[in-house]
């Protein structure tokens, strides 16, 4: 950082040209306790603005959190409807596999029966 006025003696501290005149510096110092914005001191105004902005942020954050919670709960509801249960599907799969095996067994049985039936004629005529 570079100072615009490197030497304090270059600051005009008083209304006159006398070196020890500090009337301007005193007036500047007075600003701290003077009503400069909306009937308030700069510090009061700063504090009030910070309070208002802080309240707004806090309100907006609470609203965002509420909306987020709503969204989360909706998502969960949706998932409970559209989502698949891996365990349920695995159980189903097992069931279908068993059904398939059973059906395949029946087919095998029919096939064996037909095969046996067809050999009946062959042995008597042969």
């Amino acid at each position: 950082m570079q100072l615009a006025v490197p030497d304090s003696s270059q600051i005009q501290s008083g209304a006159s040209n006398l070196a020890g005149d500090n009337s301007i510096a005193l007036a500047v110092a007075d600003l701290r306790t003077s009503s400069v914005v909306s009937g308030q001191t700069a510090s009061q105004y700063h504090a009030e603005s910070a309070f208002q902005v802080g309240e707004q942020i806090s309100y907006a954050t609470a609203q965002r959190d509420a909306a987020q919670q709503m969204l989360d709960s909706m998502n969960k509801q949706r998932q409970s409807v559209e989502g698949v249960s891996i365990d349920q599907e695995a159980a189903n799969l097992m069931q279908y596999q068993r059904a398939y095996s059973a059906a395949a067994r029946i087919l095998t049985a029919i096939d064996e029966m037909l095969r046996t039936a067809m050999t009946i004629g062959a042995s008597t005529t042969g």
């Binding site: 008083g14 005149d21 110092a29 504090a47 309070f51 208002q52 802080g54 806090s58």
Partner: protein
């Protein structure tokens, strides 16, 4: 049950919450401050801004008053020398007024008085940090100048300094209030006396003038002592106020270290529990039990 996905998302939430709590606790422990943003507690933030402003003003008053006080101490010690010189001058004048004193003795008293006058002028033009102590606001030039034997005041009235809220004091005394106005100052009294003695006459009239100049110097010097004790009081009171402001700031913004530390531990436990549960749940499914 179809809540597989929401179960994992619940665990992710739990882990995220635990991390947030940890971050907050670590922030509080490392900074010692409770508030991270003005939205954490807007009313407290507003109070802190006011307190910060008071605190800065108190620091400025303390530092500024120390500078002024150093200047007053230098001035007071210069005035102590001035009072000594003036007292010496009065006693010389009294012995010079004695009827039995010879012309030669008067001559030697006159030359000694000349020396006293020179020293007194140098004292009245004392400097501190390159500024003349008794020139009022015009402190870049000497308070008194001797032109053709007449010593006149070159300065102005003293500036005002603020040592506490609404407490303003004069930045010392003007040289002409201490050493007398032009035409009737202590230097004129000394010159008159030196003239009388040199012409071998009794400096009777000048003795009274010198005595009253000395009294004026003594009286006015007292103001430096009382101003310095006022400054000491102001600094003491500023230090007390600063302490109160610091305490109040700490009450508003100071983190409760014990609470923060235990919150951190709890959050760490919660995070590792949720992470462990996550790894279990994520790896667990009926498929693991199906023959491949």
């Amino acid at each position: 049950m179809r809540a597989d996905l929401s179960l994992t998302s619940n665990l992710v939430d739990a882990i995220r919450n635990a991390k947030e709590t940890q971050d907050e606790a670590i922030q509080q422990l490392s900074s010692g401050k409770r508030l991270r943003s003005i939205s954490d507690d807007p009313a407290a933030a507003a109070q802190l801004i006011g307190l910060h402003s008071s605190s800065a003003a108190l620091d400025a008053y303390t530092a500024g008053t120390a500078t002024v006080r150093a200047r007053f101490a230098a001035a007071d010690s210069a005035l102590a020398t001035g009072v000594q010189l003036a007292t010496r001058a009065v006693s010389l004048a009294v012995s010079g007024s004695n009827g039995t004193v010879s012309a030669a003795e008067r001559q030697s008293i006159a030359s000694e008085l000349q020396g006293v006058q020179d020293q007194l002028l140098a004292t009245a033009n004392s400097q501190f940090n390159g500024r003349y102590l008794f020139s009022g606001e015009a402190d870049s030039s000497p308070a008194f100048a001797s032109v053709n034997g007449a010593v006149t005041y070159q300065g102005s009235h003293p500036a005002t300094v603020e040592i506490a809220d609404g407490v303003q004091i004069a930045n010392g005394q003007a040289g002409n209030a201490l050493f007398g106005s032009d035409g009737s100052n202590i230097f004129d009294a000394l010159s008159g006396m030196i003239q009388s003695l040199s012409s071998n006459s009794s400096p009777q009239n000048s003795v009274a003038a010198l005595q009253s100049s000395l009294n004026q110097l003594i009286t006015k010097r007292v103001s430096y002592g009382s101003a310095m004790s006022a400054m000491d009081d102001a600094v003491t009171s500023a230090t007390d106020s600063k302490q109160r402001v610091d305490t109040e700031q700490n009450q508003i913004d100071g983190a409760d270290m014990t609470t923060a530390a235990s919150a951190l531990t709890q959050a760490q436990v919660a995070q590792s529990a949720a992470s462990a549960a996550f790894s279990k749940v994520a790896s667990m499914s009926l498929f693991d039990y199906l023959p491949r």
